[in-house]
């Protein structure tokens, strides 16, 4: 399930590799010109033009009237089908909705992709409008309960590879951005069994997250988390973490050893 930062030992063929880079650039920068794409990607300009035209021809990119390029809306359909193809956790939405009814807070199911977590399902609670995570939304490993709990339970090599990129650009003064801060956080999360995000992304918002595991190899593949206004969340950390662990087991995504011992 997990897509590591390097999913295979082989690079894709030239055209696909460049297309992947260009798509990632357009995902972060809407409506930019080919010259800028070439500079940011490091791809020669002639290749950038050729690949962009090719992506337009196949409908993955659209050419705007001002000669800039944007991602095509056809990615939205691909995204929807990709989400519905995650059949590891049938009835995930029903369970999340039940959890939200129980806690009153928004629940999220996120999956690891590279060094990020991607939200694939959520059930809205009281403070949904304040939360930045939506289905399709991503959070880096250094921020948020989902991201940090996934980092804490990842293999040591993955942690090391990730922390080599520190310091990160934080969301605010509460974000943990240095390697030392994140190492200490990892130890704390492993000891506690869950992560607490206390306004490290959005001021006024807190979240609690627990890991979910692949049942085939026991590795962390994502997180189940709940988020809301900090005053409502912080006094209930232990209680909410307990609820999350119950629902992880109901999803069938507890650590294989833990679920056997129950």
């Amino acid at each position: 399930m997990r897509v590591s930062s390097k999913a295979s030992d082989q690079e894709p063929t030239g055209a696909l590799f460049k297309a992947g880079k260009i798509i990632d650039i357009l995902a972060d920068n809407n409506g930019i010109g080919p010259a800028e794409v070439a500079v940011v990607s490091g791809i020669p300009r002639s290749s950038a033009y050729r690949i962009l035209d090719g992506l337009v021809q196949v409908g993955l990119v659209k050419a705007n009237q001002d000669d800039t390029y944007s991602l095509s809306l056809s990615w939205l359909d691909l995204s929807d089908v990709a989400r519905s193809s995650l059949t590891e956790w049938p009835k995930a939405y029903d369970l999340l909705a039940e959890l939200t009814t129980l806690t009153g807070q928004t629940s999220f199911l996120t999956v690891i992709s590279g060094f990020e977590t991607v939200c694939v399902e959520c059930a809205q609670g009281q403070s949904f409008d304040a939360l930045i995570l939506r289905p399709g939304g991503t959070l880096p490993f250094f921020a948020g309960a989902a991201g940090r709990v996934c980092l804490a339970y990842s293999d040591e090599q993955i942690q090391e590879d990730y922390l080599q990129q520190a310091p990160f650009e934080g969301y605010n003064e509460n974000s943990l951005v240095t390697s030392d801060a994140l190492c200490a956080d990892i130890k704390q999360i492993q000891k506690r069994g869950f992560a607490i995000s206390n306004e490290d992304i959005t001021i006024g918002v807190a979240s609690i997250g627990v890991p979910i595991f692949s049942q085939s190899n026991g590795r962390v593949v994502g997180a189940l988390s709940t988020g809301g206004f900090v005053d409502a969340m912080m006094p209930r950390c232990e209680e909410l973490a307990g609820q999350l662990k119950v629902y992880v087991n109901r999803l069938g995504a507890g650590r294989p050893l833990d679920s056997l011992s129950e």
Binding site: A19, I51, G54, Q57, L76, D80, V81, S85, T87, V118
Partner: protein
């Protein structure tokens, strides 16, 4: 015939075309094995396998839950999420409304917030002196053309929950017992007709028509409204006559929906069959 090289422009487009075909296959078939995918895209299994390996490296495709299976990858979710986060119904609507040359009224956008419809965008065109509805103006969900549209196109379970929520929160007096039935009847009319109208409710003294705006998942996202028709048009609007203002509004709503990624091709049959009943 000279075989294309990897630096050949035609080779790049060919590779991307095949990659897109595989993505479309997985979109259509769901999680599938190589044999199913290669049959769908009419390519040999060996080249399909090579392509799938490359797409897995990109993250556009992932290995499926079952051995030998492939499915659309998490990177697609991430990319779709980035696009969706940028889609702004207000700016799309503003752009579409400004293009309504020749019309002579006010164009507005309403969204639902709890049990009210709220105006979040208004553009006035032509010689009209009408400056209603103002941004921030709101109606209860039981009143006005925008409310009728925002309620009528909700899925069944959300419709029922909203009706219940509204009934127990609003001081409805003698209307309480009949509210649900009236809402269901109105929703049937609006979904069949494809738009709603009111006189004197959204804008005093004027007839307002409203049409639905959908997001890429087909969920009702907002209501596009046009205010400025004379009340004398009420009978024509009620009968579903071919009024140019109604057609123009519905077309504008479609354009805004398409801007949000809604595809009318796949759903045209459903919408057309409802309007023919």
């Amino acid at each position: 015939m000279r075989r294309g090289t990897r630096s050949d422009p035609g080779h790049s487009v060919g590779t991307l075309t095949k990659a897109k075909a595989v993505l479309d296959a997985l979109k259509q078939l769901g999680p599938s094995r190589i044999s199913e995918i290669s049959a769908y895209v009419h390519e040999p299994a060996s080249s399909t396998y090579r392509l799938l390996s490359n797409l897995v490296t990109l993250g556009w495709v992932d290995h499926g839950l079952h051995r030998g299976e492939y499915r659309l990858g998490i990177a697609c979710v991430r990319i779709g999420g980035r696009i969706e986060a940028r889609l702004d119904v207000q700016s799309i609507a503003r752009h579409v409304f400004k293009r309504q040359e020749g019309s002579n009224g006010s164009w507005s956008l309403f969204v639902r917030y709890n049990v009210r419809s709220v105006c979040v965008q208004m553009t006035f065109l032509g010689q009209s002196r009408l400056r209603s509805p103002q941004i921030g103006y709101s109606l209860p969900i039981s009143l006005g053309a925008p409310s009728d549209v925002l309620l009528a196109f909700l899925d069944q379970s959300r419709f029922e929950r909203l009706i219940e929520h509204y009934r127990y929160n609003a001081d409805m007096g003698g209307l309480l017992s009949t509210f649900r039935e009236r809402s269901v009847q109105m929703a049937e009319k609006v979904t069949k007709r494809g738009y709603a109208y009111d006189v004197d409710q959204t804008v005093p003294g004027a007839l307002t028509i409203a049409a639905p705006i959908f997001d890429h998942s087909g969920h009702i996202r907002a209501a596009a409204c046009y205010s400025g028709l004379s009340r004398t048009n009420k009978a024509l609007v009620e009968s579903g006559a071919d009024l140019c203002e109604v057609n123009r509004l519905r077309q504008a709503a479609r354009q805004i929906s398409q801007g949000l990624g809604y595809s009318f091709d796949a759903r045209e049959g459903r919408l057309d069959s409802e309007s023919e009943q």
